[in-house]
């Protein structure tokens, strides 16, 4: 992928400037705005905490079953706002603020919420002249509206959970007519507004125009801002909170940093060439969800706004030495967006899992990928031609390394005309795809949203004739430079356009495509090489809305339309698999994301962990980083370590820039080939567990990979850990991410718990920092005592080849001698699990020397050829006999082996079908 822009543009279009770029190895920061350079952010940030000019007009209160509304007035300019409060099912509060009478409608983000959230009754508990107390039900949860100054507090008993506008940073730039160009009508409306404003008290402070309100120039680009200033801001205070997470995507620590004295975290989907680590700059995707956590409570704030957004974090304990202080810790968060309305969901937890459920109820859960998508992906910009694809495919077999997908980047298409094939390099795509299919493997071809302006290109002509392109401010088709040269950008916010786009993936439309071909959407921020900040002009038009309003949504729509296309081409049968670079809240519903154009550096390997954990907290579980690093050439050691780490991250794909030397797994000598093979094999053996976790993520919204604190919310030692994480709740991974490492120190959480090294079965106590010597073959992974994990230990050349293979159960006992786990099986690729309840979901439990498999979904139906080949009980004792009892009460003795040094009991070949009821009794 991810064909970078920045210098590349220069290389391709202005050869003379190439030399300037060669020395610029890192991001060119000057291409991207700081808050200071973004006029609305600067204006908003100039506003300091203080007494809010806003006042709630309690006498305007209107109460219905589903919501209450009341008006707010800004005492400085007399503009009225409408406040809507909702109590939502599942312990959430929604706060909406819009202008009472905006000059024209302000954008409200569509298509992100999966449905209108279900409301619950908000009842007034008490009211006086300056406040209104509403019941949120449950444990004395109240929502308190204070009138002057306006503020909202959500409390539980005596404890304040969150306060809004407590620092007085609510600022709502109302739409106003342009002074120089006011039409008579506008003037009349203006007059009316002013009259209305003067109702309150005679004085109106006319707001002065500030720089950048009506026009803004950055580098050579001018934003015409026909609607003038429209930004919004609101502050949230979280008493008792020292740790906040989320708001991806940033190449930064898991725990968000204090932004006092630096730029706020920025959310604005951008194609950033050679991004830097550890700074709050915007990257390719944006999910405006922030999670707060303390030992008392986990909560979330979901700021539903798709415009450019900045988030300030300020903590009163940040950077301070924790001497005994009378000041209670508190974190303040401030959101600033360029346009739209304030629409915020406060997810009240209280447990981490509750927040995930709450957020999933709003924006949906992770799509359930076909199993194959969880396997290993081999990518490179570019596999040159069919012959190259074939020889790489053969290379994997020759070196006995499994893989499921080979990927084609932009060079595969004819002149970067997506949906086509380069006739000299890929003259027979179906032959190539059939060759892969014969090996039960698959291919991904890139389809980017920029469309080559070329009247010999069918896709362009159709978009043109259907008038589906985004328009520039003057109403003509918007054009920008991207890979193909001059390109148009289809308006993916238009549902008709999306339906048309989806139809292009039909086999008869997309010539040369087959059912084992899947899709990758890159450059969908959207990337515009010659646009401001390498993206689209904000005054470009999507129907009636400005690009400014919808920017962060564009990428989501591209992936959605593409995923819809893959579903449609199969007649609604097959689950799609689409990878995207740009994303927004809700993108989890459409496929996988990756962390964009990283580099072959140890720092980039390290940051892949917090980056994917942050995405998981914000609902997007299917995340990975380019294994090996996209830019630059990794050393053999870095590559091996990256494979070892990547094998334990949700999306596992190696990728490389076109200018780097080849790096297929066998090109670094036999020893490294063996190390990489082993890492990939570990991934394949663990696919049943990954698949089960994705199934659960799909059902519940729980992240697949989790920071430790999610499962150990009371253990403060875990709150800042980002060099290790949990897969589900049962595996703890601490990959080696340091050059020349001879040891790592892993923190094993859980007082009274035990952890077993999955490779050696060695037992370790919880709540300790464990020093682990490592060699090049080490991937420190621990299984939680008390868990049962199913693996398929017969690793074959692709996951499809393993579909009917037997399972081995690894039961790791806790200190009470018990364990439990799950096993999920279906056809691994269709929607039948959902539509026809065709799946197997088993609960496995071991206690009192009895291991049993119980059906978790009695109304489901599926038959599998898989069986149980082996049961390994770790931390057990030696029995005198082991008896297998089948569902029909027949019994048979099982042979077993016991390793007394490690206390590992291996039961030989139970042979029962994986879908059956059975019990094994040890005596």
């Amino acid at each position: 992928s991810a064909p970078p822009c920045g210098c590349f543009i220069l290389q391709r279009w202005v050869p003379l400037i190439v030399l300037l770029c060669v020395s610029a190895r890192a991001v060119d920061r000057s291409n991207f705005k700081t808050c200071e350079q973004s006029a609305f952010c600067k204006r908003q940030r100039e506003l300091k905490p203080g007494r809010s000019p806003y006042r709630a007009l309690l006498d305007t209160l209107e109460l219905s079953d589903s919501r209450i509304t009341l008006q707010l007035i800004n005492d400085n300019n007399k503009v009225r706002l409408l406040l809507e409060l909702y109590r939502l099912q599942g312990n959430m509060t929604r706060v909406k603020i819009n202008e009472l009478k905006p000059l024209k409608p302000r954008y409200e983000v569509p298509d992100v919420l999966i449905s209108d959230p279900i409301t619950e009754t908000l009842s007034v508990v008490s009211q006086d002249e300056n406040s209104l107390v509403l019941s949120l039900g449950g444990k004395d949860q109240r929502l308190i509206v204070s009138a002057q100054p306006f503020r909202l507090d959500i409390v539980e008993g005596p404890q304040v959970l969150v306060s809004l506008n407590s620092r007085g940073l609510l600022a709502f730039e109302h739409l106003r007519a342009r002074k120089d160009t006011k039409s008579e009508l506008e003037q009349a409306t203006e007059q009316e507004n002013v009259e209305q404003r003067t109702d309150e008290d005679g004085q109106i402070k006319e707001e002065e125009d500030k720089p950048g309100m009506w026009e803004e120039t950055f580098k050579s680009h001018t934003d015409s801002k026909p609607n003038g200033p429209s930004s919004i801001s609101l502050d949230f205070s979280l008493p008792g909170v020292e740790h906040v997470y989320g708001i991806p995507e940033h190449a930064d620590t898991l725990k968000l940093k204090n932004t006092d004295g630096s730029d706020p975290y920025r959310l604005y989907n951008l194609d950033v060439f050679q991004y830097e680590l550890h700074n709050p700059m915007a990257l390719y995707g944006a999910v405006p969800v922030l999670i707060s956590h303390s030992t008392d409570r986990t909560m979330g704030i979901f700021w539903l706004n798709a415009a450019e957004t900045w988030v300030d974090i300020s903590s009163n304990t940040a950077g301070k030495v924790r001497v005994i202080s009378s000041e209670a810790p508190q974190t303040d968060v401030r959101w600033i967006s360029e346009s739209g309305i304030i629409d915020v969901f406060i997810m009240l937890g209280p447990k981490p899992a509750d927040v995930f459920t709450q957020y999933a109820s709003l924006t949906g859960t992770q799509s359930f990928p076909p199993l194959t998508a969880l396997a290993y992906h081999q990518c490179r910009w570019n596999y040159n031609d069919q012959e190259d694809v074939k020889s790489v495919d053969q290379g994997f077999d020759e070196h006995d390394i499994p893989y499921d997908f080979i990927w084609l980047d932009i060079e595969h298409a004819d002149g970067k005309r997506y949906f086509t094939w380069d006739p000299s390099k890929f003259p027979q795509p179906k032959e190539m795809l059939q060759g892969l299919m014969d090996k039960r493997r698959k291919l991904v071809a890139i389809v980017d949203p920029h469309i080559r302006v070329d009247n010999g290109y069918k896709i362009h002509n159709e978009i043109l004739s259907k008038n589906f392109y985004v328009k520039n401010k003057d109403g003509g088709d918007y054009e920008g430079w991207c890979w193909p040269g001059n390109s148009g950008y289809p308006d993916f916010t238009n549902p008709e356009m999306r339906a048309w786009w989806a139809s292009k993936f039909a086999y008869e439309q997309y010539e040369g495509s087959m059912e084992n071909q899947y899709v990758w959407n890159d450059m969908n921020e959207p990337s515009v090489f010659n646009g401001p900040e390498v993206t689209m002009h904000k005054d470009a038009l999507h129907g009636g809305w400005e690009h400014r309003d919808v920017h962060n949504l564009y990428g989501l729509y591209v992936q959605k339309a593409t995923a819809d296309g893959l579903v449609e081409r199969s007649g609604g049968v097959e689950r799609p698999f689409v990878l995207t670079r740009a994303f927004f809240a809700g993108s989890q519903r459409y496929g996988a994301v990756w962390t964009g154009d990283n580099a072959a550096e140890w720092g980039h390997l390290k940051i892949s962990i917090p980056m994917c954990l942050s995405l998981g907290l914000a609902g997007i579980s299917f995340c990975g980083a380019d294994v090996g690093g996209f830019f630059k050439h990794p050393s053999a050691e870095l590559l091996v370590r990256w494979y070892q780490a990547g094998a334990y991250q949700p999306f596992f794909r190696a990728h490389a820039h076109i200018d780097t030397p080849r790096r297929e797994p066998w090109l670094f000598g036999p020893e490294n080939t063996a190390l990489i093979r082993e890492a990939i094999r570990q991934r394949y053996a663990l696919l049943p567990y990954w698949y089960q976790l994705f199934y659960n993520a799909h059902r519940t919204g729980y992240p697949v990979v989790r920071p430790l604190w999610v499962e150990y919310p009371n253990d403060v030692a875990t709150f800042s850990i980002e060099d290790e994480y949990l897969i589900g709740k049962d595996l703890l991974v601490h990959p080696v991410t340091d050059e020349g490492a001879t040891a790592v120190t892993a923190y094993l959480p859980g007082k009274g718990e035990v952890w077993y090294d999955v490779h050696t079965f060695q037992k370790h106590d919880g709540e300790q920092s464990l020093y682990i010597p490592v060699t090049m073959s080490s991937i420190p992974v621990f299984q939680r005592g008390g868990s049962i994990i199913c693996r398929k230990d017969r690793v074959r050349r692709s996951s499809s080849c393993m579909e009917n293979d037997p399972y081995t159960l690894y039961a790791a006992l806790n200190s009470q001698g018990s364990a439990e786990g799950e096993l999920y099986i279906d056809d691994f690729h269709t929607f039948n699990f959902e539509k026809a309840k065709q799946f197997v979901h088993r609960h496995l439990s071991f206690s009192a020397n009895t291991l049993s498999s119980r059906n978790l979904a009695p109304d489901s139906q599926f038959s599998t050829a898989s069986w149980i080949e082996k049961i390994v009980i770790i931390g057990g004792s030696q029995p005198s006999s082991a008896t297998l009892k089948n569902a029909d009460d027949t019994e048979s003795a099982l042979e077993f082996e016991f390793d007394s040094t490690l206390a590992v009991l291996t039961l030989r070949k139970p042979g029962v079908n994986a879908a059956a009821d059975w019990t094994v009794i040890l005596r």
């Binding site: 040159n384 039960r440 200018d659 037997p806 069986w867 080949e869 042979g911 079908n913």
Partner: protein, 456 residues
């Protein structure tokens, strides 16, 4: 569901026209059959444990070395043997048993997967024999050619070595001559020197004046001589006929070199010829008599000395060149010698690739544009058992944000010496395929080719 692929396969083969049945567990090669004796306990081939025979191929891995499951996918490290009657037998990793993909041409790896495999061994065998036969023919002819090459190289080498020896002998004589002439020169210069000492200043002035005059005359003369077409200009081609002017003394005076001598001009007239003259006068050989009537005896002695010294230098160069050539590693029998100072081209849709073995590889756009160096001779870098199968050319022109270009040349046996393909598998790393008789191995006996009954 699983214990079904238990046991024995029947293998039919043809030997001396008589059908023979040999029973052994699935996936076991004939050579290992003795270890798998039915109804006797089986000992893992690594000796690690002994199990009842009914646990062989029972789809559960008991042996650490995988030897109890030669016919199932149960062991992670097992291997399966397919007989492939009609083609060649092979081992596949046991993970490829019943994985739905046909690996063995006799279909024996997919006995329980539902994969629809067809026995293609006969076809493959025929095809392979065909290919092998063709290969063998090529190898045979190639090998003969190689013998000639070796012979020629041997001769050439001997000749060159002889030449070097002769030249070294001549060189000795030359050296002596140079010394003798030096003495003559010094003697002849003695009066000059004395005069110089006496009238140093005057002498110098006089000498300079004389020299200048002479030089001018010589220059004018040379101009006329050089101006073959008498158009009043000396052109590049006119100058190029004077091989003695070669600045690097490599024996050829290239156009570029001449342009250098001419300061980049395409032609010069008499007025601008002066600067060219400065560049060439020391080496310039007049087309008419080199004799100058009024040469002083000292001058003559000097010239004689300088001539002989120059001859000595030239001889040194020649010796060095031959020694350089002789020092190249042209293969165990010097069979690659013939490639030296040759170039081979391949034209693709976009470029003309040029391989000059032991020198450099280059690429030139077909439709104009400058040549790019894809690497200069580095080393033989084939596999350990035969390093002469791969040539490596390194340190070519640098790439943007990337390495210097380099080229790997893979050599295969062929009757002709040709570049057969080029590719750029990785940015700026080129791969070239090159056939030459020089790598043809002595042909194997055709009788050893598989005929479908080597495995019983």
């Amino acid at each position: 569901m699983t214990c079904l692929h238990l046991l024995l396969t029947l293998v039919f083969a043809v030997s001396l026209g008589t059908p023979v049945e040999i029973q052994r567990p699935r996936g076991v090669p004939l050579t290992k059959k003795p270890f798998y004796e039915e109804n006797k306990p089986f000992t893992c081939l690594d000796g690690s444990r002994t199990i009842p025979f009914d646990r062989v191929n029972d789809d559960y891995c008991d042996c650490k070395d995988g030897s109890d499951e030669p016919g199932t996918a149960a062991c992670p490290n097992g291997s399966f043997h397919c007989t492939n009657a009609g083609y060649r037998p092979m081992f596949i990793p046991s993970s490829r048993i019943n994985d739905g993909i046909c690996d063995c041409c006799d279909t024996t790896d997919e006995y329980n997967s539902g994969a629809k495999c067809e026995n293609t061994c006969k076809e493959l065998g025929l095809k392979e024999r065909d290919v092998l036969q063709k290969m063998a023919e090529i190898t045979k002819e190639g090998f003969l050619l190689k013998q000639q090459l070796i012979e020629e190289a041997k001769k050439g080498r001997e000749e060159k070595q002889g030449k070097v020896t002769d030249m070294q002998e001549n060189k000795k004589q030359l050296e002596e001559k140079v010394e003798a002439l030096r003495t003559v020169k010094e003697t002849a210069e003695q009066p000059e020197k004395e005069a110089k000492e006496r009238h140093l200043k005057a002498w110098e002035e006089q000498k300079a004046a004389i020299r200048l005059e002479k030089d001018k005359a010589k220059m004018a003369e040379a101009f006329l001589e050089l101006d073959d077409n008498a158009d009043g200009f000396v052109s590049v081609s006119e100058l190029q006929s004077h091989a003695e002017l070669d600045p690097d003394a490599d024996g050829t005076l290239t156009e570029t070199e001449v342009q250098g001598l001419m300061g980049g001009a395409a032609q010069v007239d008499t007025s601008t010829f002066e600067s060219v003259w400065t560049n060439i006068k020391d080496k310039y050989h007049s087309e008419v008599s080199r004799e100058e009537a009024d040469m002083s005896s000292a001058q003559k002695a000097r010239d004689d000395f300088e001539d002989s010294e120059k001859a000595l230098r030239e001889m040194d160069d020649q010796i060095r060149n031959i020694e350089k050539e002789l020092s190249f590693d042209f293969g165990p029998d010097a069979e690659f010698t013939y490639l030296y100072s040759q170039c081979y081209e391949l034209t693709t849709s976009e470029y003309i690739y040029r391989l000059c073995p032991f020198n450099r590889v280059s690429q030139k756009p077909k439709y104009g544009g400058s040549e790019t160096n894809l690497g200069t001779w580095g080393s033989w870098s084939g596999p350990e058992n035969n390093k002469y199968l791969v040539m490596k050319y390194e340190h070519g022109t640098g790439c943007w944000q990337g390495p210097n270009r380099s080229t790997t040349v893979k050599l295969t046996c062929g009757k002709e010496t040709v570049v057969t393909s080029t590719s750029e598998p990785s940015r700026c790393e080129y791969l070239m395929e090159f056939t030459t008789p020089a790598v043809c191995q002595e042909p194997a006996n055709m009788d050893l080719l598989p005929h479908g009954h080597e495995e019983l």
